[in-house]
Each structure stands twice: as structure tokens, then as C-alpha cells.
């Protein structure tokens, strides 16, 4: 009896299509990925059991750490309008160059008097620039005005309510946080979010 021969099939598969798809997806994810912004101060966020995911746009973040307050708004247009309005309030005019630098900043923490100097610093040296934080006292009212202008800009441009979030350091003592909350409440922002890490499932 002749032996039944099993036809040998090639084990090689054509991977061209798979490769195409893989690189297409890869390109898409690289393009859409947004890298984590570095905080100006080390911030260890506290944990909370029930959290919601924040939207990506229409958001303003107050970073608080080391008794300093930093402010940042998502959206280039809002930042631009906010800066112009702030310049008007504090009698400062910004050059197009300074504006262009400002809209790239994810967050900042300098008083108005130092803002021009900060914006004119070389990009490579910006990190070394000592940022004292935005003044929260009621005399200059700077943080109040920044938040107010950001909210007004969002309302004027996109007719949305800016969602404000507080990103505080765990070890930050309460008075600074309390002052920021007070500033928010002064402009009737009674609902805001605290950025927290997800704690393990509650017992």
C-alpha cells in the first residue's frame, strides 16, 4: 500500500496587510496621544474611592503645592483671550511674541509683575525660572481675576461653563486650599472638582 502523502504547506503567511494595519493604528495613536504635563511643583494627589473621569477640554486646573498656586486652562483660544483681558486689567501690553509663548504654557505661577520677564525667558531656561505662585491675597486679587477672565473667555468663545479643578498636594496645609476655595466661592463657583487618585475598591 502506498503511503498517503500529506502535502506540505508553507508556513509562511503574508504579513503585509497586518503590518499595514498595525502601522496605521500606531500612527493614529501617536498622533492623538497627549503626553503627561509635568507639574511645576511636585504634587502627590490624595486618593478617593469614588472618582469620575474628567473631560479633556473646557477645563481649568489649579495646581497647589508647597503653598504655591498655579493656574492653567485647556485651550489656546481661551488662554489668549484671558491674557489680553488680564493685560487690560493690570495695564500691561503683551507683544505677539509673548502671547505666543503664553498660549503654549500648560500652567504657570507667576504674579503679573513678573509675567513679562517669565515669558521672555528662553524656553530652555523656563524650567529654572523660580515661580513664586500666583498671589492669592485679596489686595491684588490676581488669582481671582485670572479665574474670572478664564471663565468669561470660555463663556464668550464657546458659551460653556468652565469646569474648575483643584489639584492639590496631599501634604499641603489647609489654609492655602481654603483660600483658593474662598476665591472660587467669591465668584459663585460652588461646584468644582478635586483631582484624586482612584483608591482600591471600598470595603
Amino acid at each position: 500500500m502506498p503511503r498517503v502523502k500529506i502535502a506540505r504547506k508553507s508556513t509562511v503567511t503574508d504579513m503585509t496587510a497586518m503590518c499595514d494595519v498595525a502601522f496605521l493604528l500606531l500612527t493614529f495613536f501617536i498622533m492623538t496621544a497627549k503626553f503627561k504635563q509635568e507639574d511645576p511643583v511636585p504634587v502627590a494627589i490624595p486618593a478617593y474611592t469614588k472618582t469620575v473621569v474628567l473631560p479633556e477640554d473646557n477645563i481649568g486646573t489649579l495646581t497647589i503645592g508647597g503653598s504655591k498656586v498655579f493656574f492653567g486652562v485647556e485651550g489656546v483660544k481661551i488662554r489668549e483671550t484671558m491674557l489680553e483681558e488680564m493685560g487690560r486689567l493690570y495695564n500691561t501690553t503683551f507683544t505677539p511674541q509673548e502671547k505666543a509663548t503664553f498660549i503654549t504654557l500648560p500652567t504657570f505661577g507667576v504674579p503679573m509683575s513678573q509675567l513679562k520677564a517669565y515669558l521672555n525667558t528662553e524656553p530652555s531656561k523656563m524650567k529654572a525660572f523660580p515661580q513664586p505662585g500666583i498671589p492669592t491675597d485679596s489686595v491684588s486679587n490676581e488669582l481671582f481675576n485670572w479665574i474670572r477672565q478664564a471663565r468669561l473667555a470660555d463663556r464668550a468663545l464657546f458659551s460653556k461653563d468652565l469646569r474648575l479643578t483643584i489639584k492639590g498636594d496631599s501634604k499641603q496645609e489647609y489654609p492655602t486650599i481654603g483660600r483658593v476655595i474662598q476665591i472660587l466661592q467669591k465668584q459663585k463657583v460652588n461646584k468644582f472638582s478635586l483631582i484624586t487618585a482612584q483608591k482600591g475598591a471600598a470595603q
Binding site: 508556513t11 509562511v12 504579513m15 503585509t16 497586518m18 503590518c19 498595525a22 502601522f23 493604528l25 500606531l26 495613536f29 501617536i30 492623538t32 496621544a33 497627549k34 503627561k36 490624595p46 486618593a47 478617593y48 474611592t49 469614588k50 472618582t51 469620575v52 473621569v53 474628567l54 479633556e56 497647589i64 479643578t165 489639584k167 492639590g168 498636594d169 496631599s170 501634604k171 499641603q172 496645609e173 489647609y174 489654609p175 486650599i177 481654603g178 476655595i181 472660587l184 466661592q185 467669591k186 459663585k188 460652588n190 461646584k191 468644582f192 472638582s193 478635586l194 483631582i195 484624586t196 487618585a197 482612584q198 483608591k199 471600598a202 470595603q203
Partner: protein, 177 residues
């Protein structure tokens, strides 16, 4: 998996020298591997990095609003002191002795559950109201921890209120200020 070069190698007939036909196929296994590895990385890093937050609603500070009077016996006040310690009491400050506690499972959570049940029993099913008063010596983490315990114990009526000098003294007496 690797391709075997099956062309060539045999004896040529007629002594004609033919150039060896090399395969135009390229082994793409490694490339695909790498591409998928990167895809996995980007998928994970984009969805996992979304900031998570908790919503916080503060009471309206408008002076024109009339506030409803609430029985002091229904409120539990939590004073946040230093060194990750807190003090709580039911009723009015100074009149009822406070208890120094911690933020753990057997500390604040236990106190909240017990007091909530007590208030519910003595006030005909009405829920307890919790006032959180962070002192200047407490940290942000303490505040979030206290809010977290309220969330776990499902006490919906709570507010963050400014601390009064009487209560600061209370904390000082208990050496957590």
C-alpha cells in the same frame, strides 16, 4: 517560521551560469511584533492617563439666602487637627465633649456610622448632618480623607465650614493643633 531559500543550489544544466534568483519576500514578523508592541503601549498610556476627580459642591455663601434652622443635636462636627488626627462631637461645641480619633476604618468611619444611627433613631428617621471644619494645621489629604469617609458611609448632607475660635481652642486642649 523562517523562510527557507529554496531557489538555487541545484546543479545547472548545460553549464549556463544563471544569476541566483533571490526571493523578494521580506520577513516582516519582527516589524509587526514591534508595531503591535508600540500600539499596545500607546493604547494603554492614552486611556490610563486621564485625570480622575471627585466632585465637590460647597454651600452657597450668599448672605441674602435664608438658612433653615437645624437642630444642633442633629449635626455632627468633625474638626480636622494636626498630625493626622481629628476630633468629632455631636451638638454644639464646648457643650458636648469631643472625641479624638483617626481617619481609619475604626476611627472616623465607625463614629460616623454609629452617630448616624443614633441621630436617625432619636429624630424620627431624619438624616444626620455633618460639618467638616478643617483647621489651619490640617492637610489637604485630611480633607479628602474625611470626605471619602462620608462618601463611604453614604452621608449625603455635609458641608465644609470655616472653623471658629472656640473649636480651635477645643483642638488645642486636645493637643492636636
Amino acid at each position: 517560521m523562517a523562510e527557507l531559500d529554496s531557489s538555487g543550489g541545484g546543479k545547472h544544466k548545460g553549464g549556463k551560469v544563471r544569476s541566483k534568483k533571490s526571493s523578494t519576500r521580506v520577513d516582516m514578523t519582527a516589524m509587526v511584533d514591534l508595531a503591535f508592541l508600540l500600539i499596545t503601549f500607546f493604547i494603554l498610556s492614552t486611556t490610563l492617563n486621564k485625570p480622575k476627580a471627585m466632585d465637590l459642591a460647597m454651600p452657597d455663601k450668599d448672605e441674602n439666602k435664608t438658612e433653615l434652622p437645624v437642630a444642633a443635636s442633629r449635626t455632627m462636627t468633625v474638626l480636622l487637627g494636626s498630625n493626622n488626627k481629628l476630633e468629632w462631637f455631636v451638638g454644639e461645641p464646648g457643650k458636648t465633649p469631643g472625641t479624638v480619633d483617626n481617619y481609619g476604618k475604626d476611627g472616623l468611619r465607625k463614629a460616623l456610622i454609629e452617630n448616624s444611627e443614633k441621630v436617625r433613631a432619636s429624630h424620627g428617621g431624619q438624616p444626620m448632618i455633618v460639618l467638616i471644619k478643617p483647621s489651619d494645621k490640617s492637610t489637604y489629604e485630611n480633607l479628602v480623607a474625611a470626605l471619602d469617609e462620608l462618601n463611604i458611609t453614604k452621608i449625603d448632607i455635609h458641608a465644609i465650614v470655616d472653623i471658629t475660635p472656640v473649636e480651635v481652642n477645643e483642638l488645642k486642649n486636645n493637643k492636636i493643633y
